[in-house]
């Protein structure tokens, strides 16, 4: 990626930078909620952005796929109905994304821009969004994006990118025209000097060297095609309580429900987050359900992420952020499941196939 320019922001000036971003834009950034938990949330004050957060538990997908999104509003009268689309989205910045979360946005972009019907509400939000990623030198224990080949210092697919330097200073790399459009917010900061450039290059070199042997995602996809009926699925769902936290907090999970919110003769058709982990997700009005138990639903989650998604879009629906590992009340660990899938193929029997 060609870097247009690099500015250096001292730690005390970060709120100034964030405050400038907030001029005329909504800013989604890592922040602490009332319980002290680190989450991505819309900032109400620049100093709320929390630079100690690494992988905020609530992912940034809400910037493009809000938890509750009005698809259109309507008014009904006897014999007449009128429908009004929502107002176009306002410009927004998603600030401080871990590079694995950036790749998760790429997964969402791939799904929602796909033919035959590109998703207009998603794309409209995406088009007015500027992505500012952030590099990380260290990983929280559950992060395994390096194993998927994602480098936590990689600035690809970002409009701008923050590289942490010594003493809390941040280097802001401007990478795209959208990034350059933030000029008002960053032009007050000094350009990077030769020492800074060397430090950035060194950080990148160190980070890249830590990606030694990524998981072979193509092999995992091939393996999954051979073990649909394996007894693996009888085991891995057993501790699962079906809470759906893994899916709701996954930065790539995007399955949704469409619901009515009606009061009297006025209402809205809304899109809300949903998950394949719930029984109701696939239950027909007749009562028939193709995924009757948690076994089928756990299998669907793994298959969708590592097989179906890859087959259709050539991109895994997992970026190794590890949120599902961190939050699972039953301590299910997707790394362990992936390892089993990797090993199982060697012993898979013909009857394990579809």
């Amino acid at each position: 990626m060609i870097t247009k320019e690099i500015r250096i922001i001292p730690p005390a000036e970060m709120p100034v930078f964030v405050g400038a971003l907030m001029q005329g834009r909504k800013v989604l950034a890592p922040t602490r909620n009332d319980d002290g938990l680190c989450v991505f949330a819309w900032l109400t004050a620049p100093e709320h952005a929390d630079w100690a957060c690494e992988i905020p538990r609530v992912p940034p997908k809400q910037a493009f796929l809000p938890r509750t999104e009005v698809l259109f509003r309507y008014h009904r009268e006897k014999g007449k109905e009128t429908v009004s689309p929502p107002a176009p989205p306002e410009p927004q910045v998603v600030l401080g994304l871990h590079p694995c979360d950036v790749q998760a946005v790429k997964v969402l972009d791939t799904v929602f821009s796909a033919e035959p019907s590109p998703d207009q509400p998603y794309l409209a939000r995406r088009a007015v969004t500027t992505l500012i990623g952030r590099g990380f030198a260290d990983d929280e224990s559950f992060v395994f994006c390096r194993e998927l080949g994602i480098d936590p210092m990689d600035n690809r697919d970002c409009d701008a990118f923050l590289v942490p330097l010594a003493a809390g200073r941040m280097a802001l790399e401007i990478l795209t025209d959208k990034g350059a459009a933030l000029k008002q917010a960053y032009e007050r900061f000094p350009p990077a000097g030769a020492g800074d450039l060397a430090a950035i290059a060194e950080a990148r070199k160190l980070s890249a060297a830590r990606i030694t042997q990524p998981l072979d995602m193509a092999a995992i996809q091939r393996n999954l095609e051979t073990i649909f009926n394996s007894d693996l699925w009888d085991r891995i769902h057993e501790p699962c309580v079906g809470c759906g936290a893994c899916a709701f907090l996954c930065p790539t999970c995007h399955c949704f429900d469409i619901q009515e919110e009606t009061r009297g003769m006025d209402g809205a058709r809304v899109r809300v987050w949903d998950t394949c982990q719930f029984d109701l997700f696939t239950r027909h009005a007749s009562g028939h359900n193709p995924r009757t138990s948690q076994k089928e639903r756990s299998r669907q989650r793994i298959m969708h992420k590592f097989s179906y998604g890859v087959g259709r879009f050539h991109i895994p629906f997992c970026v190794g952020c590890g949120r599902c590992i961190a939050v699972c009340p039953a301590h299910n660990d997707v790394r362990q499941i992936l390892k089993e899938i990797h090993d199982l193929a060697k012993t898979a029997k013909p009857q394990d196939r579809v």
């Binding site: 259109f72 088009a127 990524p214």
Partner: protein, 307 residues
Amino acid sequence: MTSPRRRSHKIEFNHGWTPMNTDKTTKTNPYIPYPVTIERVIVENEARDIKTFRLVFQNPEDRKRFDFRVGQFAELSLLGFGESPIGIASSPLDRDYVEFTVKQYPAGVVTTELHNAEPGRPMGIRGPMGNGYPIEKMAGKNIVIISGGFAVTTLRAMIRYLLHPDIRSSVKNITVIYGARSPGELCYKEEFAEWSKRKDIAVILTVDNQAPEWKGRVGFVPAVVADVKPSPLDAVCLICGPPVMLKYTIPELTKLGFKSEDTYLSFEMRMKCGIGKCGRCNIGPKYVCIDGPVFSLAEVSALPAEY
């Protein structure tokens, strides 16, 4: 399932990288339905839980945009109640309206409200959705249509389409086997009675149990198929019915020599978006909403039995 070309594709994040295209936008919001009005409601069965709704577009040009193939479906949209994906029961050549035959389920909010609706009620439809039946492959072939219960809806659309004077000569013999639990549960009774009199289509109706006024065949669809023995020669077979009918009819068709590539089924699934985004209607890697609802038996046998 996956083509060899796809197989060899590198699927690691850092290889074969292409930058994101974030400038792609579209003006069409696929979630906003076309406004339509219910013109006619026809009660199809004695139990009165299956009705056909004839819908006309409030903006006639929308009917042209709603350019569908036989076997496609649409989301019927009732503001304040929700949406339900239903196969299109009329022919694309019925140019003034579209029809949907809907069974009401006690748990079905939309189907229940729809069944309470009267002519003149405004509503919406989104679509058309899905792939439809393989019309191109059917050209010049003998057509065998097998159905049971109210699953006949899109096959009724197919019969109407094939019998259209402009279309009839494009296929050879048409054989239809259609069964229901009792005579009162057969849908589209008047149409089937008319088609039974025609020379250019063979219609075999059957009911599960003998009924006083019934003069047709008695027996389950699989047994009738075995008895009628439709020829698999140069034939395409379309089959749609309840799971138990499919389970026992498909072996009969195989016995008769129908090839799995020439036998087509249509699936139902719980759906929300209908456009391949909301993630709930997949059977293995295939989305019923955009890859289906029509699959050949050959395709189905490569899928997990999760339906």
